[in-house]
Amino acid sequence: DRPICAQSNNDRQYLNRPDVRRALHVHPDAPTWKECGDVNYHMTRHEVPMFPEFHRLIEKGKRILVYNGDVDTVCNVLLTSKFVEQLGLAAIPDPKNRTFWFHDEEIPNKAGFITRYEKNVDFLTVRGSGHMVPKDKPKEALQMIYNFVYGRDY
């Protein structure tokens, strides 16, 4: 169904309005829209972590950002932190000894922790955010993705 505690069914009401569906070019035979549903899915990679894919992407020189809200229990911050650690890359020592990234519109302005690794791999935590970072911390999330895609300091 929908993530419990989402506290809103605005989207379901909106996207199932006939005028909205027409405006958004939804197929006339498409079923009632809902946030999440059972799609007869078999998790074939449940037992096999994503390390091989990450390593191949790193070998090809692709840039990688892994971030995690630090008060999420569904996918907790230790999981992703350890996953990135276990990629086996060397962390880049920060000459300013800075272990935080910042968002200046918030007090305190520490947006979370940052660890930068060799080969363009970054790990960021988002302080005070749950599972859905762009919802819980929209300003920090936009700053983070903007600076990632433009290759700037976070």
Partner: protein
Amino acid sequence: ARDNDLVTDLPGLDFKVPFRHYAGYLNVSDTKAFYYNFFEAHENPEFAPLILWLNGGPGCSSMFGSLNENGPFHIKEEGKTLYLNPYAWNRAGNVLYIESPAGVGFSYDTANGNLTDESTADDNHAALEDFFRKFPEYRDHDFYITGESYGGVYVPMLADRVANDTKTFPNFKGIAVGNGVMSFELLYNTLLPFLYHHGLIQERLWINIADKCCNNNTYTCPFYHLQNRDGTQECKDMINEGYHNAETGDDYNLYSACYTDGEPQSRILRSHFAKAAGLPQSKKQDKNG
């Protein structure tokens, strides 16, 4: 085809939209089509990078992510009107949302085939190929694949395929994964320590688990294998009790309020948490009630 997908009159808007918005379907196969929404960047879309966003689940809609997380339109007044999200990611680039795999949201498969992680990655790859057929000029833009949650599986598997297809995706630059489940073993190995260190598991239970299951080293304790394979029944029971009795409130945000629709909150949350963790329902779940 793309002109037919241009959204020109979206209900609930009472302001002029400062970017182009396309919505429609991307062909995946003879039987499958994925629904997409594409929001061009607020500024300089002709130069801005292209960013794909995938929500997780599996089975959750990226439109849900767009409308509640990083999309430009958010909804108010019980589905009547829209407002512009000032922190939408199309302020960083041109953002594409695809509802995937087939069966999610408005996406469909008339053959109703089985879905796997591999088939989903292949289908997403095919959908992206069709996107670049519709919007060939975006082939020249820097391209990033991003996503959340089970996107920890979707994103790297799709990116692996895209990185090997340099002809179709010559400017693929990288990935971003938020709160991703890249390893279920690490998920279960870290969950109990995470809950304990947030004060959500009883001290006595934790000490017993550490002593009897983890050689007093909970930091590297293999909870996943203890629970599924190697553990004694006593350990399995204690670990299950830790999951079931953790008072998390909203699993998705420890400190968020959770409002339900009348059913006793503790029962809903415990049931949900146990289900999310892949556990059977505990007989002891009312012990602390």
